[in-house]
Amino acid sequence: MLSRPLFRFVRDDQRINFMRGRHMGLIVSAVLSIASIILFFQPGLKLGLDFRGGIIVEAQTPGPADFSKLRAALDHAGIHPDAVQAFGSPRDVRISINAPEGADREAQTQKLVDGVKSAISAAEPGTQVLRADAVGASVSSELFRDGLLALGFSLAMILIYIWVRFEREFAISAVVTLVLDLTKTVGFLAITRFEFDLVMVAALLTILGYSTNDKVVVYDRIRENLRKYRTMPLRELLDLSINETLNRTLGTSMTVFLAALPLALFGGSTLTGFATVMLFGIVVGTSSSIFIAAPLLLLMGEKRLRKETEAG
């Protein structure tokens, strides 16, 4: 069993003509990204507590939860929740309230969370509070700003790194591809209604890191082949490079996929959304290395890359 690998994804001499489908790839990608941008505005992302501010209390009642009783108890305490929902088992209740408006909203937010806790404990004695979060409006807007800054700076650093290590065409087509990947992931978030919070920003950044990694490996091979085959047309050369790295591309995406899969299945409420988005991002990031990043390079660099290597 150890003497040689049992499985391979594709034969080593496999030569798939990826570049033939480049226009199709770019069009499909553009359509999906535009659709995602539309979804981003309508219906929009479901902001998580981190970015929206407000209160979430999750509690487990001793018996099956009696929602009307809990609603009545909250109403009696003068609290008007935006949602009282079941999640997980029939004993689990999630109560969420949007951030109050007005001058004293920070203090109000903090008072509300204690009010909710005492109201439900009084209505259902023996209720266990699983989680009680209250995020003030000023904090949530800062968290949102920091999340966007992290994304923006990461993209900028990646652009600079690839520019320095490779060439301008590589850097620009990588960042354009990454932006296309990100928009699709945002569209996926809008469709699946997973809450967009700091953990999701972490997922987006991890996808960004993974996707860049994937592109760097393909680019690395393209650069090597540009030096090796000085007369080969760029289009053929890109196909060759993608095919040569195909087993690696599929292998790595498989291991990352396998690592993220249990998180999506068993990770609990915090990680399910994160890991599902990761899985989506891995598929998008892997396919964009082949169908988007390389064709973009072909479009941008058809003359320049070839000429330069001939000259140098």
Partner: protein, 514 residues
């Protein structure tokens, strides 16, 4: 490089061994004496507990400083016999302004304002506008002042929390004007929130001559004992900084709860002087702009101790005593973010994290053996070493592990074998090109190294950004991935390569298992 020197061999083995040793404290219960005992801390999301983010009220700090600056300015003008009109304090623009009595005195008044002693360097700027002299507090100086106040507040917050008996709290500054409090095991932080939300500035002041209307130099305050407004003089006769001790007791006369206090000698003297001069009048005991009670002064109080009876119960009396002993906050703190995880959810999260980690690890291990044979097995050994080293580094820094942190570890392991895959594919290509085993190994390792460094560097950059801008659990996720990238470079470029090289040296195969 197909030859590993003995030194390099020992180095790689040594680092792995140190890694194992550093991991051990996490799995043993009792610390061994004389050994450095460093463990990973479980984050609140795994352990259960409360996280509070407190915000210092910068506006109140500015307001207090404007008030004292106004007193200083008036006093200085008075001392120099300079007249002024229409002295206003504007909290919104954090400034004071007045009109000099005459143009002749303008320059002298301006110079007097410039020479006022600042509490911190460049605290305020004096300027002239529309014939008025304006003193404006400078934002940077106020931030510096806020940082000082946060440092003082952290001490007081720590004393207050310690007095509640909370175990292993962590209290740290965040940014210029915030404090993060983490309370493991505290699933109901309401009492602590109330304690921290009280400034606890205690003052003793006389009532205004006519306590039912506000007159210049006095302010209407809420009297909590009778639920009415009462006019209290602004001048503070004795304040809480002179307290040396406070305690909750049962009042001998009424049988209710009361708080006793002792003053230091300066406070005791001041208290004696005021009470001696005002026998028969009423004085107010004011806590954070609310009157707790306003008793008559029956006789001079010279012993420097007294008792506050304000309709307390056992809890509120002991809380007030606790607050008075711990000292007043320099400015109000308010809770702007609270996150509480109950103990059962924490336990469920640990379970979920460990199940995911093990399942993910098994899947990746199986994949590598099935798709890469013997070299895949070596990659799996390196993967274990990688996990051990990540845990070792986190233990060494006594870092916190959260659920997203565990996800970070798992994703690192999924990404880590990428380096092995790159090397293997490369070796395979070299074999296909007809190179002998040794040359193929050599070329495979050498050519893949550049690619591995490039691809890890970009992921590293992305997560450093996340670490810089993230907070809480997300930061922890970024930290584990960043550490993971470093350990990955070690385990793949040195360890798994070493395993392959040793195997080759011992087995001398004719054909590589790729």
């Amino acid at each position: 490089m197909m030859y590993y020197s003995r030194l390099r061999l020992l180095g790689v083995a040594g680092i792995c061994l140190i890694g194992v040793l550093l991991c051990l404290p996490n799995f043993l219960s009792a610390p061994a004496p004389s050994l450095p005992w460093r463990q990973i801390h479980l984050g609140l999301d795994l352990r259960g507990g409360s996280y509070l983010l407190l915000q210092l009220d910068l506006k109140s700090l500015e307001h207090d400083r404007l008030q004292s600056l106004q007193d200083q300015a008036r006093q200085t003008l008075l001392n120099k016999s300079l007249g002024y009109r229409d002295f206003v304090r504007d909290d919104a623009s954090a400034s004071l302004s007045f009109a000099p009595r005459s143009d002749a005195e303008r320059d002298a008044a301006f110079r007097a304002m410039q020479s006022l002693p600042p509490a911190v360097p460049d605290e305020f700027a004096a300027s002239e506008k529309d014939g008025r002299i304006v003193l404006t507090l400078q934002h940077d100086a106020m931030l510096a002042r806020a940082r000082e106040a946060v440092a003082q507040s952290i001490e007081i917050v720590r004393r207050r929390i310690d007095a509640t008996g909370a175990i292993d709290p962590s209290i740290a500054r965040e940014g210029d004007d915030r404090i993060v409090v983490e309370l493991p095991g505290v699933s109901d932080p309401e009492r602590i929130k109330n304690l921290l939300g009280t400034t606890a500035r205690l003052t003793f002041r006389l009532l205004a001559p006519n306590p039912s209307v506000a007159s210049p130099g006095s302010t209407m305050l809420e009297d909590e004992s009778v639920h009415a407004q009462i006019a209290v003089q602004d001048h503070v006769d004795v304040d809480g900084t002179d307290l040396t001790n406070a305690g909750a007791v049962i009042d001998q006369q009424s049988g209710g709860w009361a708080v006793t206090f002792q003053l230091n000698s300066a406070g005791a003297t001041a208290f004696a002087n005021v009470t001696r001069a005002n026998v028969g009048k009423r004085f107010a005991i004011v806590l954070d702009n609310k009157v707790i009670e306003a008793p008559n002064i029956i006789s001079p109080i010279t012993a420097g101790s007294g008792q506050i009876t304000g309709g307390f119960d056992a809890r509120s009396a002991s809380d007030l005593a606790l607050l008075l002993r711990a000292g007043a906050l320099p400015a109000p703190l308010s809770v702007v973010e609270q996150r509480t995880i109950g103990p059962s959810l924490g336990a469920a999260s640990i379970h979920a994290g460990i199940i995911s980690l093990l399942t993910g690890l098994l899947l990746v291990i199986a994949f590598m053996v099935l798709f890469y044979g013997r070299f895949g097995l070596y990659a799996d050994i390196a993967l274990f070493a990688n996990l051990i080293l990540m845990v070792a580094i986190l233990s060494l820094f006594q870092a916190t592990l959260t659920l997203p942190g565990m996800a970070g570890m798992l994703l690192t392991l999924g990404m880590a074998v990428d380096a092995n895959i790159l090397i293997n594919e490369r070796i395979r290509e070299e074999v296909k090109r007809g190179r002998g085993p040794l040359q193929a190994l050599q070329a495979g390792f050498d050519r893949a190294t550049g690619t591995i460094v490039d691809s890890n560097a970009t992921a590293f950059l992305a997560h450093v950004m996340l670490f810089v801008f993230g907070t809480g659990p997300v930061r922890n996720f970024a930290l584990t991935i960043t550490i993971g990238i470093v350990t990955t470079l070690f385990t793949t470029l040195l360890l798994s390569r070493l395993l392959v090289v040793r195997w080759y040296a011992l087995a001398r195969p004719k054909e590589l298992p790729v």
